[in-house]
């Protein structure tokens, strides 16, 4: 009896929080027919938003993979003063509101500041342009790769790398042939979380982008703008598309996991 009660309440919770809203969103997207849905998704503003989100996500993903790996390696392997402080700071983006992050960037790169003047004289536009949007998204997504890799590096230890060195491998070969392959699942999970978060980022990007149509309006900003402009079908359609992309990424992750498990068991 109690078992049923628990199962029932969990199902209800899921329905209320996830399944209900998603179904409603799907229904609302096609409220005016498939043609309207297609028109809204392929309208130039929407397409531009998708492209911009894709570009920012790609840049952020590459930067996180590179710097996340370096950061994790340094935090786990190098013992220096302030390591614990740095390690604690990694989680800061989780606890700071993205709006505050965006606001900090505005203050830092404003036209009166040293940095703002510096980039101004170089002719590089940081605020209300791509650089600030990338920085804001980086701020929000930075912890993911680091947080996936650090526990992995700790459990792996240094034995395997030392074994490779005793077999003649130089530092670069050790990194490419031993360290990176051992971290591959950390990269997969870290990348998945980074992409999902980058696609969905709203607050920080809204503050630093200026939300300029066809210029700095990402997909999420486009949804927000359509909603404010009473274009509900447009907002719903783009939202549903982003949701589909998120689902696809999660499905790919599960597929990769299943495939890895299959190759391991088939070799038995």
């Amino acid at each position: 009896m109690i078992r049923r009660l628990f199962i029932g309440s969990v199902c209800f919770y899921f329905a209320l929080l996830l399944i209900g809203p998603i179904l409603y969103l799907a229904v609302q997207s096609f409220d005016e027919g498939i043609a309207a849905f297609w028109r809204e998704v392929t309208r130039p503003e929407a397409l531009h938003g998708f492209m911009l989100t894709l570009e920012i996500t790609a840049i952020v993903l590459v930067m996180n993979l590179v710097f996340g790996t370096i950061t994790a390696l340094v935090l786990v392997r190098q013992h220096f003063a302030g390591r614990t402080v740095l390690s604690g700071l990694i989680d800061l983006p989780f606890s700071v509101s993205p709006v505050i992050a965006g606001f900090m960037l505005i203050l830092l790169f404003g036209p009166e500041t040293i940095l703002g003047t510096f980039f101004g004289t170089l002719g590089v536009k940081v605020l209300f342009a791509m650089p600030a949007m990338v920085l804001a998204t980086l701020f929000a997504t930075f912890p993911f790769v680091v947080r996936e890799l650090t526990p992995l590096l700790q459990t792996i230890g240094t034995d395997t790398e030392e074994a490779a060195r005793t077999l003649g491998a130089n530092e670069w070969q050790v990194f490419l042939k031993v360290t990176l392959p051992m971290l591959r699942w950390g990269f997969v999970y870290g990348a998945t979380l980074t992409v999902a978060r980058a696609i969905g980022e709203f607050g920080a990007v809204l503050v630093v982008s200026g939300n300029i149509l066809m210029l700095t309006q990402t997909a999420t900003l486009h949804i927000y703008q359509s909603y404010v402009d009473f274009n509900y079908v447009g907002a719903n359609a783009v939202a549903l598309t982003l949701l589909a992309v998120s689902f696809a990424i999660l499905a790919l992750l599960e597929l990769a996991k299943a495939k890895a498990a299959a190759t391991l068991t088939s070799a038995n």
């Binding site: 034995d159 395997t160 030392e162 074994a163 060195r165 031993v178 392959p181 051992m182």
Partner: protein, 365 residues
């Protein structure tokens, strides 16, 4: 000399892990580095491999000083306690790893790996991944991987520490056979004195970063050079006393010490099998009470308490044990038939100090 270590010292911060250690390893030898955990034996092995940099001293391999050679260039094979296999590679790829790094041609790699697979009885497993192997199989893959590039010496760090007792015994016997066959100079680290005695031709005993004794298993067992070795290798009763008129009197036990001057504090040691125990309280001169009986499989260990409260350990074979009807708490008699004075810093003993004890009472009723 295959390996020579001179005045080797290693400091980790304020901790002296290895202090002034010197020894040589002969060509084709299988030598055990024995000591409790934290005694510096693993550090010595890692220093020879080049995985650690010495704070002082010199290391020679094949007569060549290798202090400034990187681990990659020392041509050593290293086997780690927890295998350290490449989990993302198959057994074949693991063994071939060093050969690929050293740019062997594929036509040479294949037969070499096949040779090692058969040598290590791993034939059908070449396409498996490490997690699909048993502990014993993993360690054999690790040994095969280290042997593949034909290293000039093989270094094994607690190679059987991570497998269960039965597999450990198999691996030991298997390592001895492998060594007989390949004759590659091998050093292995262990904290298990039984393992060291069984596997190695010679043993080096370490304690607190210092070398205590080098010798054959029989030498370190029968003639321990220090008190530490006496205590660490096998069971030993150790009593302390003071010499007076050429005799050390400990309770009712008297040990003759004709060549030691008076008032010197000494430690007297004797193995449990030199303590004879009889059910008949009058057979031997010394009375005691039986406190515990331990069954060791091949024999029994008896723990007796003398009237002065000294606890002594005795070893009794099964036949003898069956003749008596020994029960815990009953009175017994005992005699110590052999003993030796343990070496102590600052005191030198004449070699005759180890002798048969005449004052222990009659050995026959």
């Amino acid at each position: 000399m295959k390996i020579e270590v001179r005045g080797l010292t290693k400091q980790f911060g304020s901790v002296q892990a290895v202090s002034d250690v010197s020894f040589t390893v002969k060509e084709g030898e299988l030598l055990g580095l024995l000591g409790p955990s934290g005694s510096g034996k693993t550090t010595v092995l890692r220093l020879i491999a080049g995985l650690e940099t010495p704070s002082g001293g010199d290391i020679y391999i094949d007569g060549k000083r290798v202090n400034d050679l990187s681990v990659q260039d020392r041509n050593i094979g290293f086997v780690f306690q927890h295998y350290a296999l490449f989990k993302h590679l198959t057994v074949f790829e693991n063994i071939a790893f060093g050969l690929k790094i050293k740019k062997w041609k594929p036509a040479e790699i294949e037969p070499r790996v096949a040779e090692l697979l058969s040598l290590m009885s791993l034939d059908a497993l070449e396409q498996r991944y490490p997690h699909q192997l048993s502990g014993g199989q993993r360690q054999r893959v690790a040994i095969a991987r280290s042997l593949a590039p034909r290293p000039s010496v093989l270094l094994l760090d607690e190679p059987f520490g991570a497998v269960d007792a039965k597999v450990r015994q198999e691996l030991r016997e298997w390592l001895i056979r492998l060594h007989d066959r390949l004759n590659v100079t091998s050093l292995f680290v262990t904290h298990d004195q039984e393992e060291a005695m069984e596997v190695s031709g010679r043993i080096i005993v370490f304690s607190k970063g210092k070398l205590e004794q080098i010798g054959s298993p029989a030498e370190v067992y029968e003639e321990p050079a220090t008190e530490f070795v006496a205590r660490f290798i096998g069971a030993m009763n150790i009593l302390e006393g003071q010499v007076l008129n050429g005799i050390v009197k400990i309770g009712s036990l008297k040990f003759p010490a004709p060549n030691i001057s008076d008032h010197v504090h000494v430690k007297v040691g004797f193995r449990p099998y030199y303590v004879k125990v009889a059910e008949d309280p009058h057979r031997y001169r010394q009375p005691a009470t039986l406190r515990h009986i331990y069954f060791l499989g091949v024999a029994y260990r008896l723990e007796i308490e003398t009237e002065e409260g000294l606890i002594l350990r005795s070893r009794m074979n099964k036949e003898e044990f069956r003749q008596y009807r020994l029960e815990v708490g009953q009175p017994v008699s005992f005699a110590v038939t052999h003993f030796r004075f343990l070496p102590q810093e600052g005191i030198s003993f004449p070699s005759s100090a180890s002798s048969q004890l005449f004052d222990a009472g009659p050995l026959t009723p």
